[in-house]
């Protein structure tokens, strides 16, 4: 397994306030990596900075190339995709147009087969393909946002809180699809508050607190960690302190 994304000593600041401090992480090919942590820990900030939406101090390399000078659009063209927390869909356009635009940088002939693959992953989107994105339910919008990102044929897909505000049955569906993506050769960097579900499907995990990584390791080890269990998994082992 080779390294796909490597972030070294990253700092991200809003003005004088440092929201992310000295963070390093790696995502390999065919791997699901998750970052868990409480609200406001800096997870979304970190993803935005990796994508180029926010300025980042430090080094970000993707597929062996330094990303520092690349705009968001060029990072997309190189195979880095982000499904942001707010999904950022084209709400006044229909599902099909949203997906078609996801393949803006992809050859037309390849986009045709991509759209069939996305419809196979999310049959619901095919049923709704002429419906305006803004009129979809929350779960369908999440599927569309993921579908649009997949249309760009990413090597690494970053998902920011994909389960937020969704019904449990849809959450299960989305996590199942994330594992299917790994099987299809797409690496996933998953940011989640639903740590339990994220740790179950991830290979590797980082725990983020107040802008820093406090723990990292194999997802199964992290899930078994008492401190993590106490703070993020919603149950307390005997004798463990609640940080």
């Amino acid at each position: 397994m080779s390294t796909l994304l490597s972030v070294t000593d990253a700092h991200v600041a809003y003005g004088k306030v440092e929201a992310v401090r000295s963070v390093s992480l790696e995502v390999g090919t065919n791997e699901i990596v998750t970052i868990v942590g409480a609200n406001g820990a800096g997870k979304t900030t970190l993803l935005s900075a990796i994508m180029g939406i926010l300025p980042l101090k430090g080094r970000v390399a993707f597929a062996g190339q330094d990303l520092a000078r690349l705009d968001i659009e060029d990072r997309v063209a190189r195979g880095l995709g982000l499904v942001p927390e707010h999904r950022e869909l084209f709400v006044t356009m229909n599902v099909e147009d949203n997906l078609e635009l996801g393949a803006f940088r992809i050859e037309k002939s390849r986009a045709k087969s991509s759209i069939e693959r996305v419809y196979a992953l999310f049959p619901r989107l095919k049923e709704r393909r002429k419906q305006l994105a803004g009129t979809l339910s929350g779960g369908e919008q999440q599927m569309l946002a993921m579908g649009r990102a997949l249309m760009g044929e990413p090597k690494l897909l970053m998902l920011d809180e994909p389960s937020l505000g969704l019904a449990p049955i849809i959450v299960a569906d989305i996590f199942r699809i994330v594992t299917e993506l790994r099987a299809a050769g797409v690496s996933v960097l998953l940011v989640e508050q639903n740590a339990q579900a994220a740790l179950k499907i991830a290979d590797h995990a980082y725990v983020m607190e107040l802008g820093e990584f406090v723990l990292s390791g194999k997802a199964s080890d992290i899930a078994a960690n008492e401190r993590v269990a106490a703070s993020y998994l919603g149950f307390q082992h005997e004798g463990a302190s609640a940080i």
Binding site: M51, I53, R69, D71, I72, E73, V76, A77, G81, L82, P84, R87, E88, L89, F90, V91, T92, M93, D97, E100, L101, G102, F104, R105, K108, R148, A149, M151, G152
Partner: protein, 346 residues
């Protein structure tokens, strides 16, 4: 007032309204995609009109030189921006698009101007020249500011308007000009007389609106432009460059402006500074459309044209005042409908 006069006024209003509709649509498009309130839209109108009139009169229009100068500026900006990672291919592409192309057009204009070329060639040349000016203007004046607030963009827009108006005086002089009709001939239907020119105005306006509708509805680039207008971040995450969308929007706006100018200049004498007022009327229509709605803008433009025609009949001294007063009730209604205005964050 009898019916004949009324019909005349309505006809006149619709002819002007059609032009305002084109301009209003361009304003809405540019604002939606780039957040620039395009005050120099009026200059695109005068530049198109006066370039066309000059060419038809056998004179060399200064706008062709301006296009080359702006193109060189745009090339310099491209070079500066790419200075840390110069790609041979990028440089060559930028050089061809920004320097070679306007140079060729300038050479063509120089060689053709003295021979009083036929109307079709005058139109084509004028459109190309103004289109290039619009495109390079975006690169030089607005693209470097793309991330700033609407207010900064508005100030830049006012600056560009003033600069272009001054250059217009330099290029075309203080005298007004008129151009030859795009379509000559006339026919009467009942009491109304239709000139070839007014038919051309209707036909071209409708054709352009249909073409825009098809462009936005069916083509990938049209959809990308809409996407940028709906959600800039979403568009960027899909790999759509906002600069590309901005270039297309400015290209369309300048072509629409120039085309409007070419359609008006056979009907009324235009001066180097006439464009501003014409653009403002398109702006009134765009504001009534809330700077977002294309159909509402088009309808509002027809209303503006008709109100203008009637007020120039009844109170010609106040015709501009009456047209701009249309804004007050609309703004009042809109402010009542949306009481909470959020300050823009980006």
């Amino acid at each position: 007032m009898n019916t004949t006069i009324m019909l005349f006024l309505v006809q006149d209003g619709i002819t002007n309204g059609a032009i305002y509709a084109l301009l209003g649509l361009a304003l809405v498009l540019v604002f939606a995609v780039t957040r620039v309130i395009l005050i120099p839209q009026g200059e695109f109108v005068t530049y198109g009109a006066l370039t066309y009139a000059s060419l038809a009169a056998g004179q060399m229009p200064g706008t062709a030189k301006l296009a080359l100068a702006l193109g060189i500026g745009a090339f310099a900006f491209d070079l500066f921006e790419a200075r840390k990672a110069l790609h041979g291919r990028l440089v060559v592409r930028s050089f061809i698009a920004n320097v070679v192309l306007p140079a060729i057009v300038l050479a063509l204009t120089l060689s053709l101007a003295a021979q009083k070329p036929p109307v079709a060639i005058c139109i084509a040349l004028s459109l190309v020249i103004v289109a290039m000016i619009g495109l390079y203007l975006y690169r030089v004046a607005f693209q470097p500011l793309a991330h700033t607030s609407v207010l900064v963009l508005l100030i830049a827009s006012v600056g560009v308007h003033l600069a272009l108006q001054g250059l217009g005086l330099l290029f075309f002089g203080a005298e007004g000009q008129r151009g030859p009709a795009v379509l000559s001939g006339a026919f009467t239907a009942g009491a109304l007389r239709f000139t070839g020119q007014s038919i051309a105005v209707y036909a071209i306006t409708i054709a352009f609106i249909v073409a825009l509708w098809l462009f936005f509805g069916l083509t990938l680039y049209g959809k990308a432009l809409r996407a940028t207008a709906v959600n800039r971040l979403g568009a960027r995450l899909a790999g759509i460059r906002t600069t590309l969308s901005g270039q297309i929007a400015f290209l369309l706006a300048s072509v629409i402006g120039a085309l409007s100018g070419i359609l008006i200049v056979p009907i009324t004498t235009l001066y180097y500074d006439s464009g501003f007022l014409i653009g403002l009327k398109g702006f009134v229509a765009a504001i009534i459309g809330g700077l977002v709605s294309y159909p509402l803008t088009a309808v509002a433009a027809l209303v503006v044209g008709i109100v203008e025609a009637f007020s120039s009949f009844y109170a010609s001294n106040y015709k501009e005042v009456i047209v701009f007063m249309l804004l007050i009730p609309v703004l009042l209604l809109r402010s009542l409908a949306a009481p909470a205005v959020e300050e823009e964050k980006d």
